[in-house]
């Protein structure tokens, strides 16, 4: 824990840059760095930058079982989601105007689909079960002859629940329907293989995997090629799908981060599973708590808990020694209780009194013990103030 700062348990929001990644990025900067434009391959500066960009492309591709030419650089998962969803739907609008997604998706997906609704598309919004899981049979039942796109996130950012994307991918592949997966939360936590998962489009970001903010990628199936209409027009970089000068140092950071995430995944997962279980056991001892999301099918470092008898904003403020996310309306950027937890059937009250603890590469056993102590103390204190306290 950094001196004076809260214990950081918000890795699902973003992660610190790994020092090894930062070093790789620094080497790109400055007069002696790879400052050339990666498109200016007529001179050595440009070729040097291009080589680094292509190396990073191969690193990202390797982390998801893809060919490097299938990786398109973007500014992050939000742009990747938008490019995938709007790009495919608009390109193929004459083939069908029905698309499918789920109510528990990230806003980057939901808002892109709402834009499609404004453009005359019909969206089937699937409701997950109370465990957060969308049954592939729900997707099958929603498919229509005019369906052209299905989008489902791999790991939910609030609950950590893992969707069976391979089963949905197989369904879509059999029907010739494009399948997009938001995998922003997956890298370094789960193995990813776009071939085995029958995924056509996969959105990725660096900053959830100890890379820099402001860089992401979209995997686009090339065999057979998938039609996609760009969102940004200009110099025609990235096969014309995403114009703009490539940010070499950011791209190098993403490549290095993904390579490290894969190399250290098994060890990280094993350690984080242990820490998360200890945190859950420690919090559970309070009583009056509920785990949000499936208890088994979820990623290692994430724990989402609702506390009975405690209001969310007060809870988060009382726990300001911990940097965690809350489902409370008042202290988040939106004006509603967590729509993801409400989609799982949680009441507004329980959705608002939820906390998301997301552990990461630098979380220590001591920090978890301290977190348990603080949560127990403050929840008990707030409950004692509430009407009907024993």
């Amino acid at each position: 824990m950094s001196a004076g700062l809260p214990i950081y348990l918000d890795h699902a929001a973003t992660t610190p840059v790994d020092p090894r990644v930062a070093q790789a990025m620094i080497e790109c900067l400055g007069p002696d760095g790879a400052h050339g434009n990666a498109s200016s391959v007529g001179h050595e500066h440009g070729r040097r930058a291009r080589a680094l960009v292509e190396r990073a492309r191969a690193q990202v591709a390797a982390a998801i079982g893809a060919r490097p030419e299938c990786i398109i650089w973007t500014s992050g998962a939000t742009e990747s989601d938008n490019l995938a969803i709007l790009g495919v739907a608009r390109f193929n609008a004459d083939r069908g105007r029905h698309v499918i997604s789920a109510r528990s998706e990230h806003k980057a997906v939901i808002e892109a689909f709402k834009q499609l609704e404004k453009e005359g598309f019909q969206v089937s919004w699937l409701k997950p079960g109370s465990n957060g899981i969308v049954d592939p049979e729900q997707v099958e039942a929603a498919l229509r002859p005019d369906t052209q796109l299905v989008s489902l996130m791999h790991v939910n950012n609030e609950t950590g629940v893992i969707q069976d994307v391979a089963a949905v991918g197989a369904l879509c592949r059999a029907r010739g329907v494009a399948f997009h997966v938001d995998a922003a939360q997956s890298v370094g936590k789960l193995p990813l293989d776009v071939q085995a998962m029958s995924v056509d489009l996969l959105a990725l970001t660096a900053h959830k995997a100890y890379g820099p903010k402001g860089i992401g990628a979209l995997y686009v199936r090339r065999d057979p090629p998938l039609g996609l209409r760009p969102l940004i027009y200009g110099g025609g970089q990235e096969l014309g799908l995403r114009s703009g000068t490539l940010a070499t140092h950011q791209i190098v950071g993403m490549g290095a981060a993904f390579e490290l995430a894969e190399l250290e995944r098994e060890a990280d997962v094993e350690r984080l599973t242990r820490l998360r279980e200890r945190l859950w056991q420690g919090i559970c001892a309070l009583g009056g708590v509920e785990l949000n999301g499936d208890p088994q099918r979820r990623v290692a470092g994430l724990l989402n808990v609702s506390f009975h008898g405690v209001e969310g904003e007060s809870l988060q403020f009382a726990l300001r020694e911990l940097a965690v996310s809350t489902g409370s309306a008042c202290s988040s950027a939106t004006d509603e209780a967590s729509y993801v937890l409400r989609a799982l059937g949680r009441s507004d009250e329980l959705a608002q009194s939820s906390l998301r603890f997301s552990l990461g590469r630098y979380t220590t056993q001591e920090e978890i013990e301290r977190a348990i102590e603080v949560v127990r103390r403050e929840v008990a204190r707030l409950r004692a103030l509430a009407p009907g306290a024993p």
């Binding site: 008898g309 209001e311 904003e313 007060s314 403020f317 009382a318 008042c330 202290s331 009441s347 507004d348 009250e349 608002q352 707030l382 004692a384 103030l385 509430a386 009407p387 009907g388 306290a389």
Partner: protein, 143 residues
């Protein structure tokens, strides 16, 4: 005690708390509830599902509120406002309770406009306390 009836200033932005809120949230005064007795009255309003719930209970001494206790469910502003009010209402008459308005708490605690509705719930609890006092008086009156 004087009632404040003007609209409060807009208050702080969400997620920030003034010194008075911090003080009462961290060190609530008079938390709890009196057991039912002849000289104890109680007023409650709100529900957790509404985001705020308050119970005020008080002892009556010589036609004034002797001591006031509170229970509160809600955001830090709610808990701090109930704690602050438990001190503010000491010595109040029944007429003071009837005249009390939420705007005083909103002003003193710099409650943001988005939460003014919760202060209205607190005002309801104060007026319920006055109603309980009234009923106590009626019950004690000679036949």
């Amino acid at each position: 005690m004087q009632a404040v009836t003007h609209r409060p200033a807009r208050g702080r932005t969400q997620g920030t708390y003034g010194a008075l809120v911090l003080e009462h949230f961290e060190h609530p005064r008079n938390a709890g509830r009196y057991r039912p007795q002849a000289d104890v009255i109680e007023g409650a309003a709100g529900r957790p599902a509404q985001g705020a719930a308050f119970v005020l209970s008080a002892r009556i001494e010589d036609e004034r509120l002797g001591a006031v206790r509170f229970e509160a469910y809600g955001c830090p502003h709610c808990i701090a406002a109930a704690s602050w009010l438990s001190e503010r209402l000491r010595g109040a008459t029944r007429a003071d309770l009837d005249a009390w308005r939420w705007t005083e708490a909103a002003d003193r605690l710099e409650v943001p406009a988005e939460k003014w509705g919760r202060m209205l719930v607190l005002e309801d609890a104060v007026h319920e306390l006055a109603r309980a006092w009234e009923r106590l008086g009626e019950a004690a009156a000679p036949e």
